[in-house]
Symmetry: C2
């Protein structure tokens, strides 16, 4: 895929320039100095020759076919350059030139125009407003990002030109070999989605590293990222969206679901490893590109100093990994090779005067031990320490069966050792805690890869009934569905709803109460009243006909007093719900990633502690259970101190049903079931209250 | 203080050796090559001359006075070397030799002996088992930690020799100039406490950096650290205590208060800046040593790329600092100096093609703006970027009125710029988020320095009565004080306790209930019953004499059935407490740092969410309020959604009273008031239940 872009046989530079420092000059120079083997064709009407190559006034005048056209002309000439390229039969186009969407409406219109020009001819375009691309395999440097970097297994996708250069520059310092570097700019045509799809199958690429500021299509991103992650690690640094994060939302779920939550859920779902900082991007990518994945989370630490060993052990525990010890027999053998004061526990302390041989003995023991999944090697520069030799000796033992990460702590003294580690493909970190974080990322990715196949259950539901209600409300513009209608839809999707009916008089209310059984609950139904309780519109635990009549009359009195203009549809009378644990389940539709399901323990846990978890729909039963497990209040759900727990399956089932409902109906913008009342296992979970918001028909 | 140790006029090396690689050789060589100006006297009975210096069989035979003696002989000769030094009139001794406490009992005994030898002669000793010390000011390198480092304002104290070398090595790489480097080893005499006291007043030292594995005396540490912090920043990396962290504890407070919590509380109280990782130690120390403290938390960001600017803005917000904008007038002036596409908001975006002049314009604007407290400068290497010139230009504008931190993102491309920044005293970080963390540490320290004077309120209490109860229980070995006795003590310390009395018959119970007023509560009192509720030993809300009789008889029946052997002291009858918010306040005595106060919202918040805060006693009223503010559930305390909040002062008052009680009585090991019931402001807070544990008399 994208062969004409990434591995063209020939390249033209439209806007090639003789003036050093000009982009049109630098790109041509980079192409030449990078060692690209095919024809390079400069195009510029006012030059005969640029950098020793014959120059043409237009690409068509070159006469022969050119596979990739790189456009660096001023904005106003871009359209004709694109036409020229298309007419000359190019297979792909890179528009380096800036001045498009990023400058305002006029630029955006022009950008749209050139993109659709390309589309109409079935030619893919990278940019505009980008640095171009580099392919180290074919020695193609069609960029002004810098000189050809060292070749290796890491592909870089960057939405920011500035970050692209910074990454390239840093990659050199960190010994990170690159396969492709792609600056995606304004993403008028090609976006991260296309590149993830292509790089997933690129043999030269072992790890994909990305810097993104936004995502063009959430759905497609999740699909492409999930596919790419199933082949190779995808590590992404996503810059914040602080301002955009402020969205109006009517539901609890909506309020709690920020934009960043959505990205988090999308990344988690698709196996993307998220780097939170520029440093982590490199820390993670070097680990992934240099070492095999761990099979489990048991970490063995080798050190020549006690204190740092403890620091790393603490970091390992904090990261949720496990500090492990050598198998007894292996430890006994190792003990014979070390001085008596050394420790073969975990950390293995080879002592301050350790020579390379002691490190080798320890690392061999750890590599041979099936009970060890990963190894962290710490070295501090002490009087007898030989960092470079130790690094070489350790590196010579690696068998690529389990990851080994190192931290040689210090500066100039350990630098030769650090250089050797880097050369040998051993990821090394200034500070040992960073090695632990990288290992954690590796473990999490490895766990994601081993996840069970995602099977989304489809429940038999009455879709038609839900559709009727939704359509009717959308048509009449009543986009906020109150309790009664929301419950009807949920009923159609298999939720248990307390038996009840709308009453329009006290007598009718009594009749309904008698039928559903006492005690009854009564709630006012009005499109104009959102906070029913505040206006006296909710009466609970009504034990007799007399109480129902009193409640009805009082409710009408209060509403007349406090909300005289509210349109009253009636009073909903239903059987009181048995007590149980109150939880909230809900959905908020993210503009990018679609329905995001939320779970939280009711009341204070959601409102004050924000102890909620999110997951993109559709959700599997395992994922629904994971949502419960991931809350801090899980302990309460499962029953603490001998108390019985609640029916976790019932909650998971509810989440799956919401998942199905909101996947079936993109019209539903937000949904809260609050509270969803759950009893002990075997008991039924009941929707005590619910509301939904639909999107307007025009949208 | 410690002048003979840190700034001696003359130095002897007992155990000086002619063999390179031996510690006795290296130390002498370091002393000589370091450029120490005073006499250096090698002592070794089997050499006439070492490294060109005349050698003596004993120090006494040298004849003249020597101020500092450095001992590097094998362990078995250390004692006589110490005696020789003392007899020769040395003012201070460093024992480099190992083989003491760290090797077992025999070594520990010897260590004690040499320490008390020194003490008896009033001579201070550093070590044993240490690397020695370096004073760059007097060019004294009495260590084998390495060559003389660059001189500067940072003093290093390290408990680990290995870390000491790593820090020295890294300090070079990070351009961190050092004043003193002190390896404290086994701390047989001199400890971190003495050195903090000395370095607090050392003029050459501007920042104290420490690596500690344990602390010799919590009390003294807090005092010394607080004093030192009031003069200069103290940044400490404390390695974990995972295993030691496992302590048995009987109270909620005890269970929740780990060792690390105690260190956290002690550091916070004494103004110590805690580095969580090796990297943070340097990140923080370089910032503190190079830049002035911020006056507030308003951070302005200057960048030449949008994405990284957003990343930093996000990090600033996450860190609890404030992203600020320039004052309007200043922004308007700046706008004239920048291209129209540039942004003068925050971040200030000087654009990808920014030259040094644009950075200068931006930084001048920020420096002149009183509404900006700190500045972070980001640079990404783009086509037109001149990192070195930009660094120089920025550095030339600094006026040391507010902190400026930089992150030049990249590798080789920005390296010349980073070097210039370092040279100019501008702290610079690989990854911009690390600059933000350092700034946060600076802001927190600045806030600590500006804290109001600590005034601990002393309430008038009946200390004598508390003392009588405590003494009686300690004498009779009844170390767990149940509700009744614990409440008596709290009563003596001014807590409000529900009126009540011990009854030994149903009739008596009824009489008491009538006197205190209905509804009443009844609770079994037995030294053998801890979980009263589980055995039916608690009856609440008894509204009449008949209910009290029923409850009494039923309670006796149940106890006979379920705990037939329990010694029953009677049934405590008290007035039911008015409802209110249930909170827990308590104290757990840390072996190092003494009484640690705890606060948490009752029930699930403490047990499941672990939403608790700690503070060392004695506590001021401001600190007590801080403890409430620092919980996530504070929102509930202060009243949410228009609900009335509870009486925060009452809780703060309770914490201060516990503080006074547990400071007055070191015998109290643990204390829980659970629940402490708090009503609205003006209402009284009541101790509904309480327990205490005393330490045994022998202890």
């Amino acid at each position: 895929m994208l062969d004409s872009l990434l591995s063209p046989k020939s390249v033209a530079v439209i806007g090639a320039s003789r003036t050093p420092g000009k982009v049109g000059h630098d790109i041509l120079a980079n192409l030449i100095s990078g060692g690209f083997a095919g024809p390079i064709v400069p195009v510029n009407p006012s030059a005969d020759e640029v950098l020793g190559l014959q120059c043409y006034p237009t690409l068509q005048q070159y006469g022969k076919e050119v596979e990739l056209s790189v456009i660096v002309v001023p904005r106003n000439h871009v359209e004709s350059a694109v036409r020229d390229s298309l007419d000359a039969g190019c297979g792909a186009i890179i528009v380096i030139s800036a001045g498009f969407k990023e400058t305002g409406e006029e630029g955006a219109a022009l950008e749209k125009k050139i993109a659709s020009l390309c589309k109409s001819r079935n030619v893919r375009m990278l940019g505009p407003n980008c640095l171009g691309l580099i392919n180290t395999e074919t020695k193609l440097n069609a960029s002004f990002a810098g000189l050809m970097p060292g070749s290796g297994g890491v592909a870089v996708i960057s939405q920011s030109g500035a970050l692209c250069t910074a990454i390239l520059d840093q990659a050199g310092a960190r010994r990170m070999g690159l396969s492709k570097v792609i600056s995606i700019g304004n993403k008028a045509d090609l976006s991260e989605v296309d590149l993830l799809r292509t790089l997933a199958h690129d043999e030269q690429t072992k790890v994909i590293a990305g810097y993104l500021e936004d995502i063009s299509s959430g759905d497609n991103f999740v699909k492409a990222a999930e596919e790419a992650s199933s082949f190779k690690p995808v590590v992404i640094l996503k810059s914040g969206t602080t301002v955009a994060g402020l969205r109006a939302a009517a539901s609890h779920t909506g309020v709690l679901a920020g934009v960043d939550t959505a990205y988090g859920a999308a990344f988690k779902r698709s196996g993307v490893i998220r780097a939170d900082t520029f440093q982590e991007l490199f820390d993670f990518v070097t680990a992934f590109s240099m070492q095999p994945l761990p099979k489990g989370k048991r970490v063995l630490i080798i050190t020549n100093a006690g204190g740092p060993g403890t620091m790393v052990a603490d970091a390992v525990e904090k990261a949720g990994l496990e500090v492990t010890s050598l198998n007894r027999a292996i430890a006994a053998t190792l003990r014979e090779k070390l001085p008596s004061a050394a420790s073969t526990g975990n950390p293995i302390d080879v002592l301050g005067d350790a020579d390379p041989e002691r490190y080798v003995a320890a690392i061999e023991a750890a590599l041979n031990d099936d009970e060890v999944d990963a190894i962290i090697v710490i070295l501090t520069p002490q009087a007898m320490t030989r960092p470079a030799e130790t690094a070489r000796a350790i590196a010579s033992k690696l068998n690529r069966q389990k990851p080994v990460l190192a931290s040689f702590m210090g500066g100039k003294g350990v630098m030769p050792g650090r250089a050797e580690l880097g050369e040998a493909g051993l990821p090394e970190y200034d500070s040992p805690e960073r090695a632990v974080e990288a290992l954690k990322a590796m473990y999490e990715y490895a766990s994601w890869k081993q996840r069970p196949p995602r099977v989304v259950t489809r429940f038999p539901v009455n879709r038609r009934r839900a559709e009727r209600i939704i359509t009717r409300h959308q048509r009449t513009g009543r986009l906020h569905l109150g309790e009664v209608k929301a419950k009807s839809i949920l009923d159609a999707y298999g939720f248990r709803i307390p038996e009840g009916k709308l009453a329009s008089s006290a007598d009718e209310a009594i009749e309904i109460a008698k039928r559903v059984g006492f005690p009854a609950a009564m709630k006012i139904v009005s499109p104009d009243i959102v906070h029913k309780t505040d206006l006296g519109g909710v009466q609970l635990n009504l034990a007799s006909a007399g109480k129902v009549r009193d409640a009805y009359d009082l409710m009408m009195l209060r509403i007349r007093e406090k909300a005289p203009d509210a349109r009253i549809e009636g009073v909903y009378v239903e059987k009181m719900v048995d007590t149980g644990l109150e939880v909230i389940i809900g959905m908020s539709r993210d503009p990018q990633f679609g329905p995001m399901l939320m779970f939280g323990l009711g009341g204070i846990f959601v409102e004050v502690m924000k102890d909620v978890t999110f997951h993109l729909a559709p959700i599997t039963s395992e994922e629904a259970v994971q949502m419960l497990l991931a809350t801090r209040s899980y302990e309460i759900l499962k029953g603490k101190r001998g108390q019985k727990g609640v029916d976790l399956e019932a909650i998971a089932n509810g989440l799956q049903r919401i998942s199905q409902l909101t996947t079936d109906f993109p019209e539903i913008q937000e949904l809260d079931i609050n509270p969803f009342i759950v009893g002990e296992i075997g008991g039924a979970a009941v929707v005590a209250d619910a509301r939904m918001t639909l999107r307007p028909l025009s949208a």
